[in-house]
């Protein structure tokens, strides 16, 4: 029996079959554990979204990076009212245009028991949007997730309207003037562009299964059953007559 010989060879140091069997089970558990860390992605489901201007875009994903195809999506305002229901695209992405400032909750559901939600705070959205109130409830429009339209549609044409005084303006001295709101929109868009990948990484990092968590969990399991074993052992010892 070659299989048996391999086992015997591997655990030759152990004489008694009891220890040998235990050693094999521990070895099995160790192999499982050794496989775990680099593949340690939670089989959990998450939604990630970012606000930029009046656009909310994001995606749903499984821990480990897989994306659901056409997961159900619903957007709720801060009052819990569902504003829009739809689906993600093939890559689990979505893109929405909102017209009011509000804390939006984005929920995704794959239909087989995986669901997740993510809150986009109003502070992420453009300040010039009107606040959502009971009288003017927010509305959400779904956009094509793949389209890469610019989020800011500020017309930065040379400003010629305020009475051109000089008759000769060299092109290199040509000035554009933008309003304070336009500037703030541009800045917040630029900042969002730089910061968002970082936020994406942080969320992904938080959702990662860590090796220390796995070891901690195994320790707790041993502890729990150890406590039960101790309890039972005490009971058995305390029953015999003194």
């Amino acid at each position: 029996m070659p299989f048996r010989t391999i086992i015997d060879h591997c655990v030759a140091g152990f004489k008694t079959p009891v220890i040998k069997g235990t050693a094999i089970i521990i070895a099995l558990a160790a192999v499982l554990l050794a496989l775990a860390p680099d593949r340690a992605h939670a089989h959990s489901f998450h939604v990630f979204a970012l606000g930029d201007g009046d656009i909310i875009e994001g995606y749903a994903y499984f821990g480990g990076g897989a994306r659901p195809h056409h997961a159900d999506l619903s957007i709720e305002g801060s009052d819990g009212k569902v504003l829009l229901t739809g689906q993600t695209n093939d890559n689990g992405e979505f893109r929405l245009r909102v017209d009011h400032l509000d804390d939006y909750t984005i929920r995704a559901n794959t239909g087989d028991g995986h669901a997740a939600s993510y809150i986009v705070k109003s502070s992420e959205l453009a300040d010039d949007l009107p606040k959502a109130t009971a009288t003017s409830p927010a509305s959400v429009v779904a956009l094509n997730a793949t389209e890469d339209a610019p989020n800011t549609d500020i017309d930065l044409s040379p400003n010629a309207s305020p009475a051109p005084t000089g008759n000769m303006i060299a092109p290199e001295n040509q000035r554009i003037s933008i309003t304070a709101e336009q500037l703030s929109t541009l800045v917040s868009h630029a900042v969002a562009k730089q910061v968002n990948p970082l936020r994406e990484q942080i969320v992904a990092y938080e959702n990662k299964v860590r090796f220390s968590d796995i070891i901690g969990g195994l320790g707790i399991i041993i502890g729990i059953f150890g406590a039960i074993a101790w309890w039972q052992a005490r009971k058995r010892v305390s029953t015999p007559p003194e």
Binding site: G21, A29, L33, A66, R67, H69, G113, V209, Q232
Partner: protein
Amino acid sequence: MHIVDGVLSTDVVVTGAVIAVGGIAYGLRGITIENMPRTALLSAVFFVASLIHVPIGPTSIHLIMNGLLGLILGWAAFPAVFIALLLQAVFFGFGGITVLGVNTVNMALPAVLVGLIFSPFLARVDGRIMAVAAFAAGASSIMLSAVMVGLSLALSGQEFLATAKLVFINNIPIMVVEGFLTAAAFSLIKKVRPALLLSGASSRATA
């Protein structure tokens, strides 16, 4: 297979919790000093198995190993699964705290059923027949779990056929993988140290 918080209706959550408490209580009664280590060990196996992913198609699936738990532990699979699921929920956000009962029942009840059905048969046969039976045990426990997940979702208002089909199809690869793993592990244990498979009372007799 881990259902998360907020998907199931309250009725299903409460029913699951009640059945889980019953199963855990019954399972704990069967745990003696002798079979305590293996209950702890298989609880740890179940806890870690969910971290090993098999990326297939659009989604990735993970091992569950509830078939092996059922074959070796019987009713003690309930507390073993419960503790592992509790820690998975706390540490990794798999599933959730409120749905712990439902998830425990979905994983542990198939394990117990498979144990009750296959264990007496597996104790009598040997060699290739035993391996095939262990394969069937591992695969069918996943199948039963998938059906129960589908059923839990259906009772919470989702359309049963579509949901069950989705869960079932997603889990067909894992049924095959677990079948092989269960067969390999069971054969190994039975060859090397058959006494590990005996229940508490009988192992005391042979010890």
